[in-house]
Amino acid sequence: MHSRFVHGILSTFLLICLSILYGCKAAPVPPEVALAETQEHELWRAGAEIYFPREYREHKAVLRNGKDHFIAEQSRFVWFRNYESVQKEFSSIISNGNNLFKKIQEHKSSKSAAIAGQIVFFQNKLETLKKLTTLINEGRLSRRQLMTAELLLNEVQRLTEKGKFQEAEKKLRIIPVYTASATEAIAPVLNRYANKEQIAKWRAWVNDTIEVSREKGIYSIFVSKLDRKLILYKNGVPYKTYAIGLGKNGFHDKLHAGDLATPEGKYRITKKQPRSKYYKALLINYPNEEDSRQFARAKKNGLISTKVGIGGLIEIHGGGIEGMTYGCIALENNNMDELYHLVDIGTPVTIVGAIDYDNIISSTIKDL
């Protein structure tokens, strides 16, 4: 009887244990746990690791901590589980995650705006530099550098569109290397056109030439390289203006044979050629005394090879202004016809870079 009673108690105990173990319903897992995990993934996708690595690491550490608390709770017996504190903790994690997400979005949007500003800045700069290189016929190295910079800028745009701001910024930092190199290549030419003393000297030559025309009642020619104009003066007054073409190095002052530069100085017509390779031509007396002195100085200072000659045969000729001369000044054939008949041997010809300090080069290089 006693054994039957004990057996009954034991069976009841086992039944209670089994019902506790398998029959009790577990407390529901708070939805915040899964939400926090999804949020972490979204933060990663948004670039938290890239833009806010420290904050992201901290967020992940807090999330890990929360998960450990969740795991500890899950490890308890079903009827001891209580997710209240876990839920609270995960709500706070989600809230912090939302703040970080907002921070990332703001950061990205400010980055995007800053890069867009930089793109516009470099686009303008490249446009200016390209305009200047075209103006002074200074292609080659500087244009190559500008093309490289343009391609980089293109890549920056593509990367920005893809939201790859860090990579875009990395490329943006390289662009000034190429723009600086291009600027350096053209600076020696440009600086002369923005130099007040140099322009004053050129202006004085022009004034002398006009004065001679006025005093002697003759024609005189003045050529402005920057304006790409040849102005014929009669009795000290502008009589005709013609557009001109120059050579590859037309904006340089001629120093020696083969440099493709157009000389600057006060010359005169020494020969009229009714039939020339380039329609009709007016030969000038390059090199004059100043050119010879300059050439001798350059040789003495080792600026040019000892084997090179000073050059000559600088003309005002026809053939059209679109062509690239070897240092001569080219006119359209109909204009050449007109000029050829108006001037005589001995007519003064003054060639200068520019006569106004406020010219396109001086104003443009201020922005570089």
């Binding site: 993934h41 998960k67 490890s75 292609g139 550098q145 391609l151 062509g323 690239m324």
Partner: protein
């Protein structure tokens, strides 16, 4: 009394079986980790960044499940094993897929580079038709330098192909192609002006 002793022994034996027999799935854990590492070594970070992140997250979730079971009186690692097996098979599948993705990126980059090379050589061919020597216009000279700059970009893109940086090569090639088309247009305009 004898029956009571038998019942107690059976109950104790069952508890022993339930609490002590389940062991951490160490082998599965190592296999899953090794499978992810293998996928990364194949180029996962470059060609399947998102998937690699997902696999790592899933592995963490499996490890968390193991921790949950570790803390339980009655351990059951079946769910963790399932999760680890899914991670492993996902990583294996990803590893197997990466060469195809790499190949696709390579093919895309090759096609982009070929298109860019064609565009640049078209521009160059146009330049060759431009008047030479003294008759060459200033803008043609400048455009020649532009084409030289484009050729330098193509050389750079070739280098990217060699170093298997296909996505960067695609960007570089597409940029060069677009620019080459613009330059070709400018060359045509400059030549038309001359006529």
């Amino acid at each position: 009394m004898k029956r009571l002793l038998i019942s107690l022994t059976v109950a104790l034996a069952m508890m022993f079986v339930l609490t002590s027999c389940a062991k951490q799935p160490t082998q599965e854990m190592n296999d899953s980790k090794a499978a992810i590492d293998a996928a990364i070594a194949e180029g996962g970070e470059k060609y399947a960044k998102e998937e690699v992140k997902k696999l790592n997250d899933d592995l963490t979730a499996a490890m968390d499940e193991i921790k949950v079971q570790d803390g339980k009186f009655f351990k059951n690692y079946d769910k963790a094993k399932e999760m680890l097996a899914a991670v492993k098979s996902g990583a294996d599948a990803l590893k197997a897929e990466i060469p195809a993705r790499k190949e696709k990126a390579k093919n895309d980059a090759t096609a982009a580079l070929d298109a860019a090379k064609t565009a640049v050589s078209d521009a160059k061919a146009l330049l060759a038709k431009a008047p030479k020597g003294k008759g060459t216009k200033a803008d043609i000279e400048a455009l020649k330098a532009d084409v030289a700059g484009l050729e330098a970009a193509l050389t750079e893109a070739d280098g990217m192909m060699t170093s298997e940086d296909y996505f960067a090569a695609i960007d570089k090639a597409n940029g060069a192609k677009d620019k080459a088309a613009q330059v070709a247009e400018q060359i045509s305009q400059a030549m038309a002006k001359k006529k």
